[in-house]
Symmetry: D2
Subunit: 163 residues, 4 copies
Amino acid sequence: MYNYNIGVIGGSFADKKYCNIAYEVGKKLAENNCAVFCGGKEGIMECVSHGVHDSNGMVVGILPGENRMEGNKYLSLTIPTGIGYMRNFLIIRASDAIIAIEGYSGTTSEAAFAITEGKTVVSIGNLQIKTKDTDGKLVHENDPEKAVEIAIQEAKNFVEKFH
Amino acid sequence: MYNYNIGVIGGSFADKKYCNIAYEVGKKLAENNCAVFCGGKEGIMECVSHGVHDSNGMVVGILPGENRMEGNKYLSLTIPTGIGYMRNFLIIRASDAIIAIEGYSGTTSEAAFAITEGKTVVSIGNLQIKTKDTDGKLVHENDPEKAVEIAIQEAKNFVEKFH
Amino acid sequence: MYNYNIGVIGGSFADKKYCNIAYEVGKKLAENNCAVFCGGKEGIMECVSHGVHDSNGMVVGILPGENRMEGNKYLSLTIPTGIGYMRNFLIIRASDAIIAIEGYSGTTSEAAFAITEGKTVVSIGNLQIKTKDTDGKLVHENDPEKAVEIAIQEAKNFVEKFH
Amino acid sequence: MYNYNIGVIGGSFADKKYCNIAYEVGKKLAENNCAVFCGGKEGIMECVSHGVHDSNGMVVGILPGENRMEGNKYLSLTIPTGIGYMRNFLIIRASDAIIAIEGYSGTTSEAAFAITEGKTVVSIGNLQIKTKDTDGKLVHENDPEKAVEIAIQEAKNFVEKFH
């Protein structure tokens, strides 16, 4: 069994800088025996999957379509859902804590949903959610190694509090 | 049949100012023969339902639980889902355009999801989503009558573009 | 407000006999002030919608796609979901009791799910579910007027028991 | 990567005979490098998980609640969903082919949904679905080794046809 389920979210486009960060995040999560959940497609999703893959870890793609083949080539497991972008919220439900790397409205939506569900989001990059109930639930940390450390600690807190 | 499906989203707590605005929004939507979709509970959801009710309109509560009785007393129809806050995204899927009134992380999540799905959000109050893909899809308008006008125009555009 | 939410399920193809029955079921449900939930498409779904429509009732189409225009022309409300046939289970969640009219594997799936969720299915036609937990939850009644009466009584029991 | 995703469905109660069969099915699927998807709880779900576990395979529990701890102790991965029994249909969406072992209305519902979605169900035990569209999609085979062989062949056909 894996220590924690960590969701990694971000856009389907990623520039070189954030792709490298996502790759590092994936490697570190795998080295810490975490199962990584993502949307399974391109961009940040593919970069984090690549990192997990290169550390022989577990990376699960929760896919929007009904076709397993739409997943990127680094995934350990492909889970088609057929519910489109609503699959984003299954990633959040599956995860004990979340790391958000850059991203657009889809990432904002997922991250805000995580906060609504009482889970912590560690943000690397531009994510901004300014509502009264985000205090302490949205943590900004641009160093990938430290972001992984915080996410694991928050996952531990979540699992202990919840159970 | 109703002209358009308009989603009205906002927090389960509402102060007097925003409750009055939500009530006005509900009245105007009903007067324009729109079916109103909301989360069916308290706060902004109840205030908008009240306004629709007082104009003899149609207001649908998409409920988080499995119990129809959890809906507020102004709803025309109660639709329990049993999927918790994931029901938020069914409200967005059901709607041609959205009006967001204040709100917290849950409202941010819904609004950002709407933008991801190509639907316009008219914001009354504090909502902020700052990603590159929101341009033109998030409109700020604090006057309830004008917000309803914009939402109806955007719903019209959405239906025409999509079909 | 409507007295009960009644789901009417059945195939997207219907021969004349069962279409007439579905039409009668729709009329009777509307005359008894029930909101009718269905899949919103052709076949049995369209026939029951027609009946509700001709009695000025409320018939809601929970649609598989993201396009409101895919609903049949008799619907009072169109609710697109974008989750494909998984929308079948939202119809069951929305309903206090279910009437199944003929149908194929999709109808069997919905009816069995209703039983799993503790709701009664009144079957007109060929539906067969032979498991140990269906006793009393699957009622066969081929007369549409009597089937509606039973469904309303079971909806009443469900609402009272649950609340 | 695993060769195929195979869903194994069945009741949350299992007598010794069917528990042993489920265990054998789990072992054989793991030996054939298939990822096994199940509901993650007791009964048949636990027995099949045990078999996969003892062959060092991959068994994923798609859980009804929001709590990862509700899964049985043999699971490789726990995926909480918070959507109750609607999680059944995510198991079907995730799978290329399905093996049904005994079961009640919940299993019938899942199996019928699989058929609706064009996937083959191999039934060990009592499952009966008698609709016109099940022909060839519901295969009865009580020998666990042969049932696994058929399921893998059908998964292969599904993946090839779909892609």
